[in-house]
């Protein structure tokens, strides 16, 4: 047996036919020679030879690999039967494609983001170390307790000294930024930047693609200013010019020598961001010297690689002891440390939602398989006579089963191929819309994903085929053949199985709908959260004045004032103000304050207030209401700036039952005392977080050099972006403007996660609902066809058409009802898992459960109505004749 012969079967067969012809001819001649008549001679020859066809067939078999041949034949047969009902095939393939595509996409994301190692040397041994407070002080009650707080440089220095023999420690501050000056026709721009200790890259085990890494000599206050560029920044702004190394670029109006460019594969992600860092600079050179010594300003993250033999637990216990000592000496420090692997640190925030989405797609795939199985069962039922005849003629059970398997295999394969395309498109889309997500750049389809796809396709094929095979009972051949019409036992059994499948489908759909409902509600809540100010028609733009050019506080104030004056005079601008960080725009800074008039608190304790610098016009521009007292005036600036305004919640926190006006606040870190002159309304710093008490002080004179322009107009507020940028460009051509967006967009951006999750899950739920509805419709339509004559008799005997309608409707709705009950139970058990994704929404929100039940019943009712209505409209004469 050889492949050559396998493929030359046709030729061999032709030769054999010729040989047989020759044999017969020779035999006939011989017979003729014996004196037989022509007819007799021919008859004898054929009689002697036997059946030529059988000889040819047995030779053919000899030349054939049976398995391949059978498979190929099954495949051809399956393809032929499928093309005979293209509607069925198309629907099944699309359903499979959706299910498989969504799963591949999510699996790829989960694998690339959550499971694949980070692109560093031996990444499993890299940890991010944080500080924490063993017990949170009462001032932080408003904040959720976090075990992972950034680190102060003072503690880091002591950690490093004591852990020399245990681990390599590196310091990084990934939330810095610079203004890049305009140069060679390129506009100025604001970029995100990171300060890091010189050993940061060596600890990670990465080195620049071109140029060199930092040395200890670069990482000291008096060194020449050096910087390493990210690959993306180098490509974008410097057109991948390799000669950039050694040249100078201007950051914040200071010259920096570029010493290297990182490889494009390098990216740093932490739970505090870092994805978009464009340049890296040595920390000791960049940070002011007080920041490098303080224990009270937590500006850094620490990356640790334990030396061989050491473990994270050992390192943490060692550092904890050090930190407890630090706390004893410096009350402003935190008192404990914590740490987790760098991978966990980067992706912890996405785990729940990605796994929830994966579970949702799993449900969709299961529903898709159930639907295809249900369609196959229906086809088996419709073809029961054909199958019975084939079985009666000796068609082997295995052959029949093989055919069915092949059919569902074909469907799954086509679905899988289409699904892979869908997944590819979906991933491309995801990478585009979610570039804010950590590690999104690592998403790609690799060989494991392809293998998983193949496995999924096979599993789906097996699953659907097995269900449909289980429904066909080989022993009822005779019954099917006799089943000329009225006694439809086998038909009933099959519909019964389909009903069970439907219950499962509806149940899963309900789970998805509940999940989607909860997420949507939470998203709605988030979007409609009261920021504390009216959000429409407000534009915000951010800029920062470099110290190198604006050395003097009066220069800064003059710039602010001149800018505001010009912006306010733009035609159409209703009001404008300046603030360091507007509502919803993020943390923006906090300070520990004490009340001067109150009995002194133990050292290191106080009230943690959000701190903002604002110009006097800001409050009316953004429409924060004044509750008591007054706003500080234009005149209270520079050395007369020791006045402030607090928010209502700050007043309630600091001065319960007292009048705050005229009291004084002591800012412990800067040792400044401010007189409280007024109380204003609360705002949120992040829409998904609770309000926090806030302290406003004059922008003109508290040392601020960054500001956000807040601009309100009647309409079309986006249109003011360009005029304002022109004004700024006219005042300082090197000054970039960033974060240009409306307050609405700011909220949208904070709600992006929530929007993304809720819309995806909703999409999956809608797909599931459609599939379930199609399933309900299909089963009831099938039942109606099966019972046509029965219904005909009923109507002929005088049954009311309404009662027929309700009879059929109930029959169809029963699986939906069971499914609903099952689904509600399953949802109640599983929604707790997504609790952390919900904002201001209870997992067992009754409104959502009721709405889901209502939606499902309406859709199920509509799906069942058509076949039931058709049944009730049957013409009894026709129905009885239908055989």
């Amino acid at each position: 047996m050889s492949w050559r012969k396998f493929f030359r079967r046709n030729r061999a067969d032709a030769e054999l036919a010729q040989e047989i012809d020759f044999y017969l001819a020779a035999e006939i001649e011989e017979n003729l020679a014996q004196g037989m008549s022509a007819h007799e001679a021919r008859r004898r020859a054929y009689l002697k030879f036997g059946n030529p066809q059988r000889v040819r067939e047995s030779m053919w078999q000899q030349n054939t690999f049976n398995l391949i041949d059978n498979t190929w034949r099954d495949l051809k047969y399956a393809a032929r039967t499928l093309t005979k009902s293209p509607g069925f095939a198309l629907v099944a393939v699309l359903v499979m494609a959706l299910g498989i595509g969504a799963n591949i996409a999510l699996f790829t994301v989960v694998r690339s983001v959550l499971l694949n190692p980070l692109p560093y040397r031996d990444p499993a041994r890299l940890y991010t170390i944080y500080e924490r407070n063993s017990k949170d002080s009462k001032a932080s009650d408003a904040m959720p307790v976090s075990g992972y707080l950034p680190v102060d440089a003072g503690s880091f220095a002591e950690w490093k000294r004591s852990a020399q023999a245990t681990a390599e420690l590196a310091l990084v501050s990934p939330w810095q930024g610079y203004n890049v000056s305009s140069e060679a026709g390129k506009l100025p721009e604001q970029i995100e930047a990171a300060w890091c200790s010189w050993n940061f890259f060596p600890v990670l085990g990465v080195s620049p693609a071109i140029g060199r890494s930092f040395t200890a000599d670069d990482d000291r206050p008096g060194a020449e200013a050096t910087v390493i560029l990210s690959s993306a920044f180098w490509k974008r702004r410097y057109s991948s010019d390799p000669s950039i190394v050694g040249k100078k670029i201007w950051l914040d109006a200071n010259p920096y020598t570029v010493i290297g460019v990182m490889p494009s594969s390098f990216v740093y992600s932490s739970s505090f961001g870092g994805n978009n860092v464009q340049v890296w600079a040595p920390v000791a050179h960049e940070a002011p010297s007080w920041l490098m010594r303080t224990y009270g300003d937590h500006e850094f993250l620490v990356v640790a690689r334990p030396l061989p033999g050491a473990t994270l637990a050992g390192l943490l216990s060692q550092l904890s002891a050090v930190q407890a000592q630090i706390r004893a000496a410096h009350p402003e420090a935190h008192d404990a440390v914590s740490g987790r692997s760098m991978l966990d640190d980067a992706v912890e925030g996405y785990k729940t939602s990605l796994y929830a989405l994966l579970a949702a797609t799993g449900c969709v795939l299961l529903i898709a398989c159930l639907n295809v199985a249900s369609l196959l069962v229906a086809r088996t039922a419709a073809r029961s006579k054909e199958l019975a005849i084939r079985a009666a003629m000796g068609g082997g059970r295995l052959r029949l089963l093989g055919e069915r398997l092949m059919e569902s295999f074909l469907l799954s394969c086509a679905g899988g191929a289409l699904g892979l395309l869908l997944a590819w498109g979906a991933l491309a889309w995801l990478v585009r819309v979610r570039h804010d997500m950590n590690r999104v750049e690592a998403i790609h389809i690799d060989s494991v994903v392809v293998a998983a796809t193949l496995a999924t396709i096979l599993l789906c094929a097996l699953f659907s085929a097995m269900i449909s095979v289980a429904s066909g009972n080989g022993k009822v051949i005779l019954a099917s053949l006799q089943e000329s019409s009225r006694a439809h036992s086998a038909g009933r059994v099959r519909a019964g199985l389909r009903k069970v499948l439907l219950v499962l489908e509806v149940g899963l759909t309900v789970v998805l709908l509940v999940g989607a409902g909860l997420l949507l509600k939470s998203y709605e809540r988030l979007r409609n959260t009261d920021l504390g100010v009216p959000v429409d028609n407000v534009l915000t733009m951010h800029f920062g004045l470099p110290d190198a050019r604006y050395k003097d506080a009066t220069q800064v104030v003059a710039f602010f004032e001149r800018l505001l004056e010009r912006v306010r005079s733009l035609p159409g601008v209703q009001s404008a103000g300046l603030v360091t960080a507007g509502p919803g725009q993020g943390w923006g800074g906090d300070n520990l304050v004490t009340v001067v008039e109150h009995p002194p608190l133990p050292k290191g304790e106080g009230f943690d207030l959000m701190t903002r610098g604002a110009d006097p016009g800001y409050f009316s521009a953004i429409q924060i209401p004044l509750v008591r007292g007054r706003i500080f005036t234009l005149d209270e600036r520079l050395e007369r700036a020791h006045v402030g305004v607090i928010s209502q919640s700050a007043a309630a926190l600091l001065f319960p039952g007292e009048d705050p006006i005229g009291k004084h606040l002591n800012d412990s870190s800067e040792n400044q005392v401010y007189e409280v002159v007024g109380v204003v309304g609360d705002t949120r710093w992040n829409i998904s977080q609770p309000m926090r008490p806030t302290f406003y002080r004059p922008l003109y004179g508290s040392g601020y050099s960054v500001a956000t322009i807040v601009l309100r107009s009647e309409r079309n507020v986006e249109g003011f972006a360009v005029p304002v940028e022109k004004i700024i460009g006219g005042m300082d051509a090197d000054l970039p403007v960033g974060d240009v967006m409306t307050l609405r967009e700011t909220i949208g951006r904070s709600a992006l996660d929530s929007q993304f999750d809720s819309i995806l899950v909703l999409a999956f739920a809608v797909i599931a609902l459609l599939l379930a509805a199609a399933g309900l419709y299909g089963v009831l339509a099938y039942l109606v066809t099966q019972r046509t004559s029965e219904i005909g008799i009923r109507i002929a005997l005088g049954a009311q058409r309404e009662s027929v309608l309700s009879l059929m409707l109930l029959d169809g709705l029963r699986p939906a009802l069971f499914g609903l009950v099952f689904g509600l139970g399953a949802s109640a058990a599983s929604v707790r898992l997504i609790r952390s994704m919900l904002y201001d929404t209870q997992p067992l929100d009754p409104a959502v459960f009721v709405a889901v039940s209502g939606t499902l019943l309406v859709v199920a009712g509509l799906a069942c109505l058509l076949p039931a209505w058709r049944a009730s409209r049957l013409d009894p004469m026709q129905a009885l004749r239908t055989e």
Binding site: I20, Y23, A26, E27, M59, Q62
Partner: protein
Amino acid sequence: MGKSNEPNAEMLKGTLDMMVLRTLVMGDAHGHTIAKVIERSSEDVLEVEQGSLYPALHRLEDRCWVSSYWGASENNRKAKFYRLTAAGKRQLVRETNRWRQMARAIGLVMGEKTLAEEGER
């Protein structure tokens, strides 16, 4: 052919190949001749079932014991001729030896010396 053939068919299964090879010792032949020669030389006791002859020829060709070529028959028709190869000759010797042993052994068991001796001829 019916009844007498049934035991033959069983027996032929192992021996048809051998007999075909033996027939070809006399010279190249096509399927019809081979069948005729076997029948004649068995005094018409063995009737070659065509259903097994052609698969047998095919099998022998597969194993390179015979080779085939298309030629003209006695009465000038196109026919497929089979020729014994060197490997086929060796195979024939092996099979003949085995057959003789077998026939003798069966003869001994059956107590029919004559048949056994006849077999040896």
